[in-house]
């Protein structure tokens, strides 16, 4: 019994990468996120599940301060990455977003070449001193995005000419090109067919070796397949947070059980 436990990566305790305490988010007068406190671990995939409108995407967007672009949105509470409060006045959201990458629901490559798509981030953050270094960064990112073999011969082809699954992997490659520490994914597979979905999920499984991945998903099966920790949101509250297998075999809160077994939603 003991030996098998040592073999599994998951059992070892991981560092806390993102610590949220008493986070509240208001959209105008609507209280969208209520008193959410959660610890998200490094080198782990954490899934946020819940019915529509429960606030999971909103919470995700707080982590890279994308909610700043929405005027009516107010965020209060404490969110720390590696112990630093990301809502501190001294923090530049632009710099934060190089450290916290994001992949969106609908694949949205820039209407530029594949190379330029991936190179844009490193360029504006000055991560490469010359073309050779930039080439290297692009190649490494595309390899990590599991799409290098398919596009290495046509790096100058437009990014929008790829299939849906390839575009999403390109977007993932673009997100990892800036060497982030956290990867946020907002329903990354919802626009993809089952095979492309499986490829992206496989990719996420590989990515968790290097990044802390937080994924919002509507599909509970996907959350079960891909994540090690799951957080269930309901009407803006964090109802339950724990190990994925426990949540899906015997959750503690009846609301969680109702949602997972398809009794509410």
């Amino acid at each position: 019994m003991k030996d098998s436990a040592l073999l599994e990566m998951d059992v070892t305790t991981k560092d806390i990468k993102i610590a949220a305490r008493d986070v509240q988010v208001y959209y105008g007068d609507t209280h969208a996120i209520k008193d959410v406190s959660v610890d998200i671990e490094d080198k782990t995939v954490t899934a946020l599940i819940g019915p529509s409108g429960c606030g999971k995407s909103t919470f995700l967007r707080c982590i890279n301060r994308m909610n700043d672009t929405i005027d009516v949105c107010r965020v209060s509470g404490d969110i720390r990455i590696d112990g630093e409060d990301i809502y501190d006045r001294k923090v530049d959201p632009v710099q934060l977003r190089a450290k916290v990458g994001m992949v969106f629901q609908k694949p949205n490559p820039f209407p530029k070449s594949i190379y330029d798509n991936v190179a844009y981030g490193p360029r504006i953050h000055g991560l490469a001193r010359n073309k050779a270094e930039l080439d290297e960064i692009v190649e490494r990112a595309l390899k990590r995005g599991a799409i290098w073999n398919e596009v290495k011969d046509r790096l100058n082809a437009p990014g929008t000419g790829l299939s849906g699954g390839q575009q999403q992997r390109l977007c993932i490659a673009r997100a990892v090109a800036t060497e982030p520490e956290v990867l946020l994914m907002d329903e990354p597979c919802s626009a993809l067919d089952p095979i492309a979905t499986a490829q992206v999920e496989e990719l996420i499984d590989e990515l968790r070796r290097d990044y802390s991945v937080v994924i919002v998903t509507h599909s509970m099966q996907q959350a079960a397949r891909v994540s090690q920790r799951t957080a269930f949101f309901h009407l803006g509250n964090l109802v339950e947070f724990g190990e994925t297998d426990k949540i899906f075999t015997s959750p503690e809160d009846p609301r969680t059980e109702s949602y997972i077994t398809g009794r509410i939603g």
Binding site: A98, M102, F104, N108, T160, R174, T178
Partner: protein, 452 residues
């Protein structure tokens, strides 16, 4: 349990099944109504096309005449005695001979011509020379000043005839209409016929109409739209240089950076209103601010350009905003997600995608500005007789000039029917410009439109 499971108490009685192959009354009635509507649409388009056809036919038929002008081929002896008395070929001395001095040469040339033809006429040589345009002595003089060595030889010239002769050849002037006309008489008409039969007189394409300067009332045959075109060109350059950057910058700020509060709303509403303001109001504004207050030179294309800039700005701002709005927010999100600042995402991603729309809007705005007359009236660019094309950019901007629509208006006002014909010709040229600019806009849009 959901409501889906509740079953109806009893199934509704079914009507006997109607064949799909026959139309029921409702469908037939609806189809008839739709056919009627389509016919109304076609009728409306037909009326529009008819109007357009009438317009085009009228313009072309009336205006093409302006592109042709009657010329007479004449051998003019450049008598040394008259032109260079001392025989030194000294330019300064030759310059002293004014156009008056050249007039007798032409009379002599006409006399010779008539004698060659063997045509009997009671006209004196001076009267014969009246047939020629009052511009011709100047043409001779310019030639001599450029080629002083030609003095003493006989050179063949193609000279403009005066507008009455021209009108006669074109059919505007008939023997009956000249009854009270002081500028031409029957004998001259006879002479014209004879020369025409001889082949010395003919109607030809007149490049000077397109390139030349406007002319005084007395010489409509020499009037050209060229200088006005340059005036329009300079104005358009001013508009392009000012309206495009200001308009695009304002639009980007309003669309991307401005906070959404009541101040921004007021600004946006007012910009839309400005687009609807009558153009003459801008003329008054230009008069008050640029000419009276800033003391910029009257009738200058710079001032015209400034006024038209004000007029075109709302159009450019509105079309730029529409282009920016049409860029999907997913592109902005993607750029922000990668760690670009707002300004980087706008300039690196949004603007290139919005560029075709912005360009099209600008060209359409320019085309509109090109055809505006009312504001130019008030700042004095109407009908200024610009006799010389500008010699430098500075003079092009600051010297008084005219613009094409204003020039057309001025010609239409003048009494001489020769000018009237030129007005139509000017309209044709203006329309050619506008169509070209719109075609460029369409082509640019097609070429640069990218899919995302």
């Amino acid at each position: 349990m959901t409501d889906i499971s509740s079953s109806p108490a009893a199934a509704p009685k079914r009507k006997p099944r109607q064949s799909l192959l026959t139309q029921d009354a409702r469908t037939a009635k609806r189809n008839r109504a739709e056919t009627r509507f389509k016919l109304y649409g076609i009728a409306a388009i037909a009326i529009g096309l008819l109007m357009l056809a009438i317009l085009l036919v009228t313009i072309v038929s009336r205006g093409t005449g302006a592109f042709q002008q009657t010329f007479i081929t004449l051998d003019v002896p450049l008598l040394e005695a008259k032109l260079d008395k001392n025989g030194n070929r000294n330019l300064a001395e030759i310059k002293k001979v004014s156009t008056f001095g050249y007039a007798p040469l032409m009379a002599t040339a006409m006399e010779q011509k008539v004698a060659e033809m063997g045509f009997q006429t009671p006209l004196t040589p001076k009267e014969m020379a009246q047939m020629l345009s009052k511009d011709s002595p100047a043409t001779l003089r310019n030639f001599v000043l450029e080629n002083p060595d030609a003095i003493g030889t006989t050179v063949s010239f193609e000279l403009l005839t005066n507008s009455r002769v021209d009108g006669y050849i074109k059919g505007r002037v008939t023997r009956d209409s000249i009854a009270n006309d002081k500028n031409i008489n029957v004998e001259q008409i006879d002479l014209v016929d004879a020369l025409y039969g001889d082949g010395s007189l003919e109607k030809r394409f007149n490049l000077a109409f397109i390139t030349g300067a406007d002319a005084s009332d007395a010489r409509p045959e020499a009037a050209g739209i060229g200088v006005a075109m340059i005036g329009s060109l300079f104005m358009m350059l001013v508009v392009l240089a000012l309206a495009l950057p200001i308009g695009v910058a304002a639009s980007i700020y309003l669309e991307e950076f401005a906070p959404k509060n009541w101040i921004t709303d007021i600004i946006e509403v007012n910009i839309s209103n400005l687009a609807a303001v009558p153009s003459i109001v801008f003329g008054i504004l230009g008069l008050a601010v640029f000419i009276n207050y800033m003391h910029l030179p009257n009738s200058a294309p710079l001032v015209g350009g400034l006024v038209l800039t004000l007029m075109t700005l709302p159009t450019i701002i509105i079309s730029t905003r529409a282009s920016l709005k049409s860029v999907p927010p997913s592109i902005r999100d993607a750029a922000l997600g990668v760690g670009a600042s707002k300004m980087q995402s706008v300039f690196h991603h949004v603007l290139p995608l919005a560029a075709p729309g912005i360009l099209t809007g600008t060209i359409i705005g320019l085309a509109q500005a090109l055809g505006e007359t009312a504001p130019l009236l008030l700042i004095g660019m109407v009908g200024f007789i610009a006799s010389n094309p500008p010699d430098s950019i500075a003079s092009g901007l600051l010297d008084p000039n005219s613009a094409m629509p204003a020039q057309i208006y001025e010609w239409a006002k003048r009494a001489d029917p020769a000018f009237y014909e030129r007005a139509w010709g000017g309209i044709i040229i203006l329309l050619v410009f506008l169509i070209t600019m719109n075609a460029i806009a369409v082509m640019l849009r097609r070429r640069f439109e990218r899919r995302w």
